[in-house]
Amino acid sequence: MATLELSHLFVRYRQDAAINAVHDANFSLSPGESLGIVGESGSGKSTLAMTVMGLLEAKTTVTGSIRLDGTELTTMTERQRDGYRWRRIAIAFQNSLDVLNPVMTVGAQIAEAITRHMALDRESADERARQLFNMVGLEAKWLQAYPHELSGGMRQKALIAMSLSCKPEILIADEPTMALDSESKAEIIDLLKRLQSERGFSMIAISHELQVVSALTSRILVMYTGNVVEVGPTRAVLEDPLHPYTRGLTYASPSIHPFRDMWGIPGEIVITEETQCPFYSRCTQRIPACLHQHPALETIRPDRQVACLRGGIVTLLTGVALNKTYRTAGGAIRACDQCDIAIRAGEVVALIGQSGSGKTTLAQMLCGITRPDTGTAVFDGRTILGNSETRRTGGVQMVFQDPLSATNEALSIEQIVREPLDILRSDTMAQRTAKVRSALQQVQLPHDDLFLRRKGHTLSGGQRQRVAIARALVMEPRLMIADEISSMLDPSTAANILRLLKGLQNLLGFSMLYITHDIALARKIADTAYVMHKGRLVEHGPASRVLTSPNSEEAKRLLRKLGLDSSYGR
C-alpha cells in the first residue's frame, strides 16, 4: 500500500489566468487513510484530483511535486503515467451520462482496463467484471447494457466497480453522491465504506456535501479558490471550524445545523492580488494586513492547521469569572456566579435562561453598563471599562427589549439614530445624516425627511426595534448584544425583526449575543448556545447540540420547561 504526497503543488490553467486553480497544496495520504476535500464549486477540488491523475489539458502548467511512494508523478510521460493509472491510483468520476463511452457496453469499458493492467485474457476479464458488479450490488446482466440504459444510481455503482477493477491502492471518489436521491446516497456511502474496510485502499473523497465527507473520511481538507485553508480531523473541523470559510460552509449545510436557518456565505470572490488573503472579500474578521499577505497553512493546535493571518476565527469577547451580587432588603441575590463566556468573530451566540436567571446582568457586564464585582470582560484585547467599547465605532452595541422607552420623547428619529455619532463628533453633520439614512435603509425603514422628523414614540413596536437596530448599526459594531428584543412583539413582527437582524449579521459579519428565553427562536439563528440557570452558566456548546440534547440536568430541565413555553406561544 502506498503513500501519496503532494508538496508545493501549483496548477494554472493558462499563463494569463488571473489566479492559480490550485495554489500551494501540501498534504499526504497514508495507506488506508481516508481524506475528504470540501469546498464550493470552483474551489479547485476536482482540479486537484485531475492533477493527481495527470488528466489536465496540455495547456495547463503544473509545478511542485506529487509523489507516490517517493516516485515523482508530475514529470512522467503519458506512457509512464499509464502504468500508474487505474492500477495504482484510480478515480470514480463525477457521475454524469457523459462519463462513460455511449457506444460501448459498460462491461467492455470495465474489461478493457482489466485486460490492459492485470494480464488477463478477455474471458477472465469478463469474469472479473461480473465479480465487480456483484461486489457493488449490480446484476451481471447490466454489463451488457449501454451507459444510457442505466439509472443514475446504477451508473454510480458501475463507476465505482470500474474504478476498483484493477485493485488500486488509492481511490479518488469525485462527488460520489452527486445528483442522487437520499436513499441512493446512503447506499453509495455505505458501499464505499464497506469496500474500503474490505480492501484497505486509501481514499480521497471529494464533495461539496459536508455530510458525505463527514460520513466517509477521518481527515478533511477545506479548499477555497484553489487554496487549502484548513486541515484537520473531519469531526473536529466540522464541529469547531477554525477558518471563517469552513464555518460558512457548515452554516450553509442543513445536515450539520438541522434546525438553524440556512445562510450562505455572503459576498463575491474578489481577488486582486496573489499576495492577499483569498477570502478577504468575504471574511468577517479581516484586518488591513490581510490585504497584503497571503496566509500560509499553519498548525495552531495539535492536528489542526489553518491558513489565516489571525490564527483562525478570533475570539472577540471573553468574560472570565464574572461575578455580580445585588444586595437588597431581602438579602443578597447572586445574579452572576463565576460566569465564563467567549464570543467569536462572526458568530451568533444564544444566551438562554428563564426570567431572573441573570442573563441581562451578564450582558450588561459584557458591554460595560454594569461593573462586575470580580472578574474581567475583554473585548478585542481591551478590558471593558464603563462605556469604553460602546462609545467607539467597531465596538459593542446593545439593543434592548423596549429600546425607546429610555429616550427623550421630544427627539426625532434622526436625532435618536444620530445621537451616538453626535457624541463621537467624528464626522460632519452631513456625513452623519447620510449614515443615519443608510442605517435606516438597512433596517428597511423609510429614510425620507418626513420620516426622519417623526418623533420616536409615534412608531409601532416593530418600527421602534428597527430604529434601535439602526442606532446600533451607525456605530458599525463588531458585537451586537440583543436582549429579548422580540419578546414584546407579536409573532409575525418578531419573525420579521429576527430575520432582518440575522440577515444583517450575515451580511455585515458582526457577532451577536442573542439573549432570549425562547428556545425555538434560538435554534433558528444560533451557532453557539449558553444556558444560564440561577446566575450560573450550566452548559455551552454548538447550538445544534445544546438546544436539542444537552448534557447537564439543569439544561435538560430548562429545555423542557422553556420548550413547553414556546410551544404555547410567548
Binding site: Y84, R85, F93, L100, N101, P102
Partner: protein
Amino acid sequence: MTRRSRDSRAQGGRYLLVLVVMLAINFFLPRLMPGDPFLYLSVEDGTVSVVFSQQQIDHYKAYYGLDKPLHVQFGGYLLGLLRGDLGYSIYYNTSVTEMIFTRLPWTLFIVISSLVVSSVVGTALGAISAWHRDGMLDRILYAVMIVLSEIPSFLLGVLFLFIFAAQLKWFPLSGGRTVFATYGSVGTALGDILHHATLPVATLAVSRVGGFYLLSRNSMLTVITKDYIRTARAKGIGRRAVIIRHALKNALPPVVARIFMSLGGLFGGAVLVENVFAYPGVGRLMREAVGNRDYVLLQGIFLTITVMVLLMNWLADIVYRKLDPRVAR
C-alpha cells in the same frame, strides 16, 4: 420489439412516399420543358431542315403514346416500371434500361472509388487534425482543405486535364478505355481502365475530401472534449486505444451517415466530371439526353439516380443504428 418494428414500418412508408413523389416529378418535369423531341430529331448541327412532316410527327407521337392524355401516359409509365421497362429512347431507338445498364457501371465505378478515397483520406486527416488541434499540422491541413472544398469539380477536372493529361501526358485525355484496343489479358484491360479512371476519380475525390475532412475534424473535436475520453485516459489503456476505441468510434457515426448521404451529390458531380473527361458514364448519357429532349431516356436516368440515392439513405439509416446504440433501441 414492437416499437422497433413500428419505427421501421413508418420509415419504410416514408421512403415509399418519397419514391412516389419522385416518380411523379420525374414523369412530369421533362414534359414541362420547352421544345419537342421530334423537332430536334430533325435538326442537324448548324442547319435547320425539317425532315419530318406533320403527318410523320403525329405518327411518331402515336407510336410513343405521346398523343394520349397525360394521366394515361403516367399510368402506362408506372405499369412499365413494374415490369422493369423504362421504355425506348426516342433519339437512339433502343431500350433505355439497356442503355443505362451499359453506362451505369462506369459511373458507379468512379463514384464509389472517389467516395472511398475521399472519405477515408478526409476522415483520417480530420481525426489527425483534431488530435493536434491548433498545431502547425492542423492549421496547414485546415487551410488546404477549406480551399479544396470550395473549388468546383468541373474546374478542378479541367485543371487536372490540362496539367496531367495535356502537359505531362501521364494520363489519357478522355474516354473510359483505349478505343479499338484489344487486350491480351484481364490484367492489361483492368490497367487500361484504371489508367483512364484515375483523373475523373481524383477530381471527384479531391472535390469531396474537404467536406469529409471538416466533418470528421469537427466531430472529433466535439468528442475529445467529452468526459468519457477523460475516463478512457484515466484508465491508462494507452493512447491508441483511447483514440480508436473511444474517440473515433464516437466521432464516426455522423461521418458515415454523411458518406452515404453524399452519394446523391457525387452523382451530380459525376455528370459534370464525366463530361469534362468524356467518360462513358450515365452523366454523359444524361447530357446527351437533355440535348436531344429524349424524355424517356432522361426519365430513366433520373429514376435510376433517385433510386440509388434513396437506397443509400436507407443504408445510412441502418448503418447509423448499428454504430450508435442510443439510436438503435
